[in-house]
């Protein structure tokens, strides 16, 4: 990628007015799809993404079942109206790849061995796309999995960092993704302190690489706080501490 114009102005503001360490606005609501076992709707910048989880449930076709563990299946899909020019509803190669890396980002957190011979299906539908839809999708999917009551070692939070005007910035937006120097999406399990997704598009020097991954992980931690708050709000309302009643 080569950059043709400045994306950070003299005041250090980016194209959407953010500073270099600032996350876009993130809103998560839990339990938005009535029929699903677990679900979440995330607005991450201009991304509007729905994640629904069904399962654990029976595997069809049966031969896909595994005798010692659960099968995790993941679909990332974009609605035809989610992009600038209409997207053909048939799955593209990009969507197939994202479905795969998304599954691999979630799988380390899910205790698949607890549900042998069953399947867990995760459906991520991008209703409106912006930069970083895979990270937003993973973030919503992890919340939906927790909402479905599936045993998890940890949540998974995702956020990208990247390079714009030779500076490392947090949470790349659409313009920066298309015109910037590098984009590095990262998914992270905050308690286990492990990275479950790492991709890079573009060029970074060894120093920039270290800075970029640190910044992305920092972003994941901010996203995690929002995930946590959304789940707490759904299940416990405004009470954050459990009140014991006097005898």
């Amino acid at each position: 990628m080569t950059q043709t114009r400045n994306l950070i102005d003299s005041d250090g503001k980016r194209t959407d007015g953010r500073g270099i360490d600032e996350l876009r606005e993130v809103k998560i609501s839990v339990g938005t799809v009535k029929n699903a076992d677990g679900s979440a709707f995330i607005e991450f910048g201009k991304n509007k993404i729905l994640a629904a989880v069904y399962g654990p449930r029976e595997v069809h076709p049966k031969h896909m079942a595994q005798s010692d563990r659960c099968v995790l299946r993941c679909r990332y899909h974009m609605s035809p109206f989610s992009t600038d020019t209409r997207k053909n509803p048939a799955p593209s190669r990009r969507e197939v790849e994202i479905s795969k890396v998304m599954r691999e980002a979630l799988e380390p957190a899910v205790m698949l061995e607890d549900y042998p011979r069953a399947a867990i299906d995760v459906f991520v539908e991008v209703l409106q796309s912006d930069g970083g839809s895979r990270c937003a999708g993973i973030t919503a999917a992890a919340v939906a999995l927790a909402d479905a009551g599936i045993n998890m070692r940890d949540l998974v939070a995702a956020c990208a960092a990247g390079k714009v005007d030779e500076k490392i910035v947090l949470d790349i937006n659409d313009t920066e993704d298309k015109e910037g120097g590098a984009d590095m999406p990262v998914a992270y399990m905050p308690r286990l302190e492990q990275v479950t997704l790492l991709q890079l598009d573009g060029n970074l020097s060894p120093d920039q690489f270290g800075e970029c991954i640190d910044k992305a992980v920092g972003g994941c931690k901010m996203v995690y706080e929002i995930q946590k708050q959304a789940l707490m709000q759904k299940y416990f309302g405004s009470e954050t501490e459990l009140q014991e009643e006097p005898q």
Binding site: N35, A36, R75, P80, T83, E125
Partner: protein
């Protein structure tokens, strides 16, 4: 090839019996009258990247429709008309029975019935949508995604399409040096009339509109009737049972009266939008 099959939703006998008992007394299990729809909520302009969009909730059925306008070659035989294409997809999020992949016959029927209502009513004046007659015309895609399925997807999807067309903005395109150029300006969609579909299910001798998925699991036959202010413009009978002519005439009358109510609600969106 289409083959007969069992309903994917097996309604338990206890529930079926309760439904029959209730219908015999003139009430539905959720307390509705036979000619009463579930609450209808419409939110417009939910997808900023689309040229028009609507999110419709009919009871717990939820559908989102988005419009994308582009240009293309006209259809054969319709060289001077724009193209309007309605598609529908039941997302795998929608229910435990929905599967990802190419649409099955039920989903294709859904898309075609919704498309037919819009097309046959001539809701959109396609004559206004030719850029270079015979060569380049506007192509309007209305894509629908069912997010949650709880019965009567026909009407929920149809209302989403109509609401998005009523409130959508057509980008004004021009030809410059043989190329299509977006002027950056928009105008309302060339809407001539507002088609409204009303779907009814027959369970035993009773015909009830806007069936929930539980009612669809018990129904013998289904009928979707689309009307405009003036006329009937599309009908689709579905499911394996049959209707008497009398039942159909009554359903047609209900489709007209209920259609008026829904039309008024949708027109309000247009005025506010």
């Amino acid at each position: 090839m289409s083959s007969s099959r069992r309903s994917t939703i097996i309604v338990e006998h206890l529930r079926k019996q309760a439904m029959w008992d209730s219908l015999a007394k003139g009430k539905r299990l959720d307390g509705r009258d036979f000619s009463q729809q579930r609450p209808l909520e419409i939110e417009i302009d939910v997808i900023k990247k689309a040229n028009g969009s609507a999110r419709v909730k009919l009871g717990d059925s939820e559908v989102i429709a988005g419009i994308k306008v582009s240009t293309g070659e006209p259809f054969e035989g319709l060289e001077n008309k724009g193209a309007l294409i309605v598609t529908a997809e039941v997302l795998p999020t929608a229910s435990a029975h929905a599967e990802p992949g190419p649409p099955d016959e039920e989903v294709i029927e859904l898309a075609r019935v919704v498309d037919r209502g819009v097309r046959e009513s001539e809701m959109i004046d396609l004559d206004q949508l030719a850029l270079v007659p015979g060569k380049i015309v506007y192509t309007i895609f209305v894509d629908c995604s069912v997010l949650n399925a709880d019965g009567n997807l026909f009407d929920a999807t149809s209302y989403a399409v109509v609401a998005s067309l009523l409130t959508g903005k057509l980008p004004i395109l021009e030809m410059k040096d043989g190329k299509v150029v977006d002027t950056g300006k928009t105008r309302p969609m060339p809407v001539t009339t507002v088609p409204i579909s009303i779907t009814a299910a027959r369970i035993g001798d009773h015909v009830l509109i806007d069936p929930s998925s539980e009612e669809e699991g018990c129904m013998d036959a289904r009928i979707t009737i689309t009307t405009t202010d003036e006329s009937f413009c599309a009908i689709q009978k579905g499911s394996t049972g049959a209707f008497t002519v009398e039942q159909l005439k009554k359903a047609a009358e209900t489709a007209r009266t209920k259609g008026k109510e829904v039309r008024a609600k949708l027109k309000e969106l247009e005025n506010n939008g």
